[in-house]
């Protein structure tokens, strides 16, 4: 039986970590860290886990310590946010290329500047090419569930890639909401023990991790890594199917909300999708055929599947909660455009950058986006493809 609880996103992730009882948790304990290691430290002090809990002097070091542990065959985790994730940047790439399936919880927040502590996806989107799998949650329940699935995906022999479980900073990380927590023994049984094929000091097959890759070998390693990210797609679906069978909650690459006959739709991520669902419900009551696709898995990007999901729409707004400074749209827009490029019939598409640095996204704001889409769907001008929303004019 699930346990009815109320927890913040950070508590939900810390709870999942306690249930999984990883071998190593290395963390930088000061801002911009999250509350996750704080909760976990309490579990360590209370003897609820036997994890090796290591305080280090920076995020660069926390991930490095995790990689050392992973290379030795341990299951290692850490958590960070914002500038802390940026400070890990170099080591994120080492994790991906060394095929070390560390799981990293990220409370997604803005990057400087101006200096800001609030939510957007500046930090995680900046690491989209690092080789990490990225899975995003709309609320604390999804973040918890994503975490329960994370290790199995990352550690799967055909994947062996690091994975980020992304929650929305403050909006999800600090908001207390109802949640269904699963029982400890069921979680342990679902996640299982980590049994790596190879690790540093395995007697039968000692391993070198992170060697120099001359031009004659580098590309082969990168192609193998790219193939692992492709392989991750099937594993993500398989683990989600088993999760549904075990715990009853269904997940895919994305959630299609009232998309079946939708003529206008948003492609959106995280907590904002929940807010936009309320707008969709209102519009549906008035007979407007609105829907939305909430992207859950951003890496690997489910391009083919997304194209199928939105192909029948007349107009689609891609909602980017980070500014990529490409001068032609944010990262989610780039991926979505790429996904539909070869469709014979495809929707008109616009990109809206919104919600930067915690700028609030309301049901009314979502309605205004659908209003614009309805005009485009009716044959109106597409207008500027790449715009920003919610900023003051002066």
């Amino acid at each position: 039986m699930s346990i009815r609880e109320r927890l913040s996103g950070n508590e939900a992730i810390a709870t999942a970590m306690r249930q999984i009882n990883p071998d190593v948790f290395a963390m930088f304990p000061i801002t911009p860290s999250t509350e996750i290691p704080q909760y976990f430290a309490q579990y360590v002090a209370d003897g609820k886990v036997d994890t090796e809990f290591i305080c280090v002097e920076s995020e660069h070091s926390s991930l490095s310590a995790c990689l050392g542990a992973e290379a030795a065959g341990c299951r290692a985790v850490t958590a960070t946010s914002s500038a802390g994730l940026s400070y890990m940047n170099e080591v994120l790439y080492v994790a991906g290329s060394s095929r070390l399936p560390v799981v990293l919880a990220v409370a997604c927040r803005a990057l400087t500047g101006p200096i800001n502590i609030n939510h957007d996806y500046s930090d995680s989107m900046a690491e989209r090419d690092s080789g990490f799998i990225q899975i995003y949650g709309e609320n604390n329940q999804e973040v918890y569930d994503n975490y329960l699935m994370a290790h199995r995906i990352a550690e799967h022999p055909s994947v062996r890639l690091p994975l980020m479980v992304c929650e929305d900073g403050f909006i999800t990380s600090h908001a207390i909401e109802n949640i269904e927590i699963e029982e400890d023994d069921k979680v342990k049984a679902f996640v299982g023990e980590y049994q790596p094929e190879n690790y540093l000091l395995k007697k039968e097959n000692p391993l070198a991790v992170g060697p120099y890759g001359v031009s004659g070998y580098y590309m082969e390693a990168r192609v193998a890594q790219a193939q692992a990210m492709i392989n991750a797609k099937q594993v993500i679906l398989d683990v989600a199917a088993d999760f549904e069978k075990t715990f009853g909650r269904k997940y895919g690459f994305f959630e299609e909300y009232r998309m079946e006959d939708a003529e206008i739709a948003m492609v959106i991520m995280g907590s904002s999708a929940g807010t936009a669902k309320a707008a969709v419900d209102q519009l549906r009551k008035n007979g407007v055929k609105a829907g939305l696709v909430k992207i859950r898995v951003f890496r690997p990007f489910p391009g083919e599947e997304l194209a199928k999901a939105i192909a029948h729409c007349k107009a689609v707004a891609v909602m980017d909660k980070s500014e990529g400074f490409s001068a032609c749209g944010g990262p989610l827009f780039a991926e979505t455009s790429g996904a539909i490029i070869n469709l014979d019939q495809r929707p008109k598409m616009i990109d809206i950058v919104f919600g930067l640095g915690g700028r609030d996204f309301t049901v009314a704001a979502a309605l205004s986006v659908y209003d614009r889409l309805a005009k485009i769907a009716d044959g109106g001008e597409v207008g500027a493809v790449y715009t920003h929303m919610g900023q003051r004019e002066k």
Binding site: N118, A175, S271, V363
Partner: protein, 192 residues
């Protein structure tokens, strides 16, 4: 928005516990079987700076994750905020504002920029100091908000809170009675 949903906005100063009060209210509503949200609006953390926290309480899960602009109820933990913050902004006429003050509702109303709805006051300082010997405004404020909003049944609220206090203060059972007295007195003495 669901019809049965209650939305509440808390105003306090950093360090006074408005965020904690919103969490306690979420706990109380959760225990009564409701779906809850409790979330603070974060800025640079400075002791004494005005802060805002929010609650949504409903019978179905709420997917909206924006701030609350048209609350049903507003709770003001520190009355000096009435001078600097437009605490009644967007507050529904059919709702109410609950202010922590020794003053009466009639004395507070002129400070509320023309708010036409119900004005309630609660002397959380007096209640807290007389029952707990120290100033913890959260407990009386929580009870006043429950009494005015009706978001949780009174008897269920008191019995759930007693269970919660007995658990929380398992090693300090002497403070349970004082906290319960705070709750009851605040529910009885809230004016307006």
């Amino acid at each position: 928005m669901e019809n049965d949903m209650i939305e509440i906005r808390w105003h306090g100063r950093g360090g006074q516990g408005a965020k904690t009060a919103s969490q306690l209210l979420a706990d109380a509503a959760f225990m009564s079987g409701k779906y809850v949200q409790s979330f603070p609006e974060y800025g640079p953390e400075r002791s004494g700076a005005p802060i805002t926290a929010y609650n949504r309480i409903s019978t179905e899960r709420c997917s909206v994750h924006s701030n609350i602009y048209e609350p049903d109820f507003v709770a003001v933990v520190d009355e000096t905020l009435l001078e600097s913050v437009h605490v009644t902004a967007g507050l529904k006429k059919e709702g109410a504002i609950i202010v922590n003050t020794a003053k009466t509702p009639d004395e507070i109303r002129p400070l509320l920029q023309g708010y036409e709805g119900r004005v309630c006051t609660i002397d959380a300082r007096h209640i807290s100091i007389s029952n707990l010997g120290a100033y913890f405004p959260n407990t009386p404020m929580l009870a006043a908000v429950v009494a005015v909003s009706g978001c949780v049944d009174r008897e269920q609220f008191l019995s759930d809170m007693e269970g919660s206090y007995r658990h929380k203060f398992a090693k300090k059972p002497q403070v349970v009675e004082g906290n319960l007295k705070c709750l009851r007195q605040a529910m009885d003495e809230v004016k307006g």
